[in-house]
């Protein structure tokens, strides 16, 4: 079976890419025709809109693929009824702002439950840095702050879970295994196998869910 993955090449551990996987950057000219030549096409959330209605397309979200997130997800979901506060902070540059936030909402809903209430507050879109705060009340007793600073700095993710007698903290700058920062893209890389395993079939229900989150993020205000 031939699988093709479109993604940011620097994010995927090259040693994890087997011969059965064709890896392409979004800018690669072969992207236009790759869908016809593979059994499965795996695309990041920011390209989802370009492949609506295509049958062999699956969508992945970077947050869900990071090894740190997969481990912390286990901590958060160990007790399915656990209450607490989630805090995600991303500092990014050169990304599709809306896709990042929509993707995170999608992933965190799978961890924390259905988002019952979402409030969006942002600074002036034309000002750099552009900062966005999402406040979310999930069903089942979790609340979250998702905060994004879009500017020119290096990528950074901070993720915290304050649960009952359990606190988990991650900071990509702090947990960088090589110093000074900037030498390695670790720990913010993921494995090709995880893309294949954790992607979502881009069916109608999937796109409806994305559309719901897009509306909230685009319009600001609350749901």
């Amino acid at each position: 079976m031939k699988n093709a993955v479109i993604g940011r090449l620097g994010k995927i551990k090259r040693s994890s890419v087997s011969e059965e996987i064709i890896l392409l950057s979004p800018e690669d000219e072969r992207v236009k025709s790759i869908e016809e030549n593979t059994d499965n096409l795996f695309i990041p959330i920011d390209l989802a809109g370009d492949f609506i209605g295509k049958k062999n397309v699956k969508v992945y979200f970077d947050l869900e693929l990071y090894p740190f997130f997969q481990s912390m997800k286990d901590v958060i979901t160990t007790d399915g009824k656990s209450k607490g506060v989630l805090r995600l902070r991303r500092t990014l540059s050169g990304h599709d702002r809306e896709s990042v936030m929509v993707g995170d909402l999608f992933v965190l809903s799978s961890v924390a439950g259905e988002a019952e209430e979402i409030k969006v507050l942002s600074t002036d879109r034309g000002t750099i840095p552009y900062h966005v705060i999402l406040t979310i009340r999930f069903s089942g007793g979790k609340m979250a702050h998702l905060e994004y600073t879009f500017g020119e700095g290096a990528e950074r993710i901070e993720f915290e879970w304050s649960g009952i007698q359990t606190i988990a903290e991650f900071d990509s700058d702090e947990m960088n295994p090589i110093t000074p920062i900037g030498i390695t893209s670790l720990p913010l890389v993921y494995y090709a196998e995880d893309i294949l395993e954790k992607s979502y079939t881009a069916d109608v229900a999937f796109h409806e869910q994305l559309e719901r989150y897009k509306t909230v993020v685009k319009g600001g205000g609350s749901e």
Binding site: V85, H145, T149, S222
Partner: protein
């Protein structure tokens, strides 16, 4: 200078009294506390006289009082101290509602006494350093704030709504709202919040997340909780991240520490060695009294911080943004 202490119900009373004892020329003139055992023990520790009767205490010759009672008694003690012409340092929050806070400010003005609210975080070295960077223009224009104040459940009267007026959200929001107002020089115009009780089996809130907007468009988040348990390496945090057009900086008043590993139940401990912000607060208050200058942190500052915290409860209750 003679300073009286009114109640040791709030644990900060001990560090404030310790601070007074370190200062030359400063005397603790007496301790009033309606908890006789607690008051007598404190009087013994600080080598001063204990008063069971508030009128008798306020009749003593002294320059100022420090009030560390339950929140529900702040108004009564501030008003009585003001009428007795004593300058006042009152523990935060200033009161349990806006009306009481306004009356306290008004009575102090009427009697010509200083009313300072105890926001010691302003005297943390890293917090002050960021303030200096902002004032020097190093961060450019402020775009957003991110703040946290998460600690342990203090228990006792803090978890009794009748005596505290609110849980973690009231207890911790006022600190960081004060810092944001101080940094920006602007007022909060709207508050949205989710408040809940997650971490303890108590009838008061122990967690809340707030988003706020300032009059100049700056946006802010705040995470207030009593989520830290005794095995956590430290008491908690008091952090502020300032996102500016030139630079983003983050300060934590409790960050200066070394890691201590032991084989006990608390295997990792963060041992704090930063500056004593309570002592900084006390020195500033006494300087204010001595020089008869305006307080660094006024009753109005206490009122504005209280307004934001109370708006968080209202927002949670109505599930809507509250406009101030």
């Amino acid at each position: 200078m003679k300073i009286g202490m009114m109640s040791f119900a709030h644990m900060h009373a001990y560090s404030y009294a310790d601070g007074l004892m370190k200062l030359p020329g400063v005397e603790i003139a007496g301790i009033y506390d309606d908890d006789e055992k607690r008051g007598k023990e404190a009087a013994g520790s600080y080598h001063t006289k204990y008063f069971r009767d508030q009128d008798a205490f306020l009749a003593v010759d002294m320059d100022a009082v420090i009030i560390c009672s339950e929140n529900s008694r702040h108004k009564e003690m501030v008003v009585n101290a003001a009428k007795a012409k004593k300058h006042i340092l009152c523990e935060k929050p200033i009161a349990m509602n806006v009306e009481d806070a306004e009356e306290m400010i008004s009575v102090c003005e009427e009697h010509g006494v200083i009313l300072q609210i105890a926001f010691p975080v302003r005297f943390s070295d890293p917090i002050m350093q960021v303030k200096n960077m902002i004032d020097a223009g190093e961060l450019g224009d402020i775009v957003a704030f991110r703040t946290t104040n998460r600690g342990q459940n203090p228990g006792g009267w803090f978890i009794d709504p009748e005596q505290s007026g609110g849980g973690a959200v009231l207890d911790h929001t006022v600190h960081m709202v004060d810092i944001m107002r101080w940094y920006s020089g602007k007022e909060i115009t709207s508050v949205h919040a989710i408040v809940d009780s997650f971490f303890h089996d108590i009838e008061i809130d122990d967690a809340g997340i707030l988003t706020m907007e300032f009059e100049n468009g700056v946006i802010a988040s705040h995470d207030a909780s009593w989520s830290r348990f005794t095995e956590y390496p430290m008491w908690g945090d008091a952090t502020i991240e300032v996102i500016g057009t030139k630079k983003t900086v983050k300060a934590d008043a409790f960050r200066e520490h070394f890691r201590l590993y032991t084989s006990g139940s608390k295997s990792l401990e963060h041992v704090f060695y930063g500056n004593d912000m309570d002592f900084g607060l006390i020195k500033d208050f006494l300087d204010c009294v001595e020089k008869k200058r305006k307080p660094s942190i006024s009753g109005f500052d206490g009122l504005k911080a209280l307004e934001a915290a109370l708006a968080a409860y209202k927002s949670n209750h109505t599930r809507a943004t509250v406009h101030l």
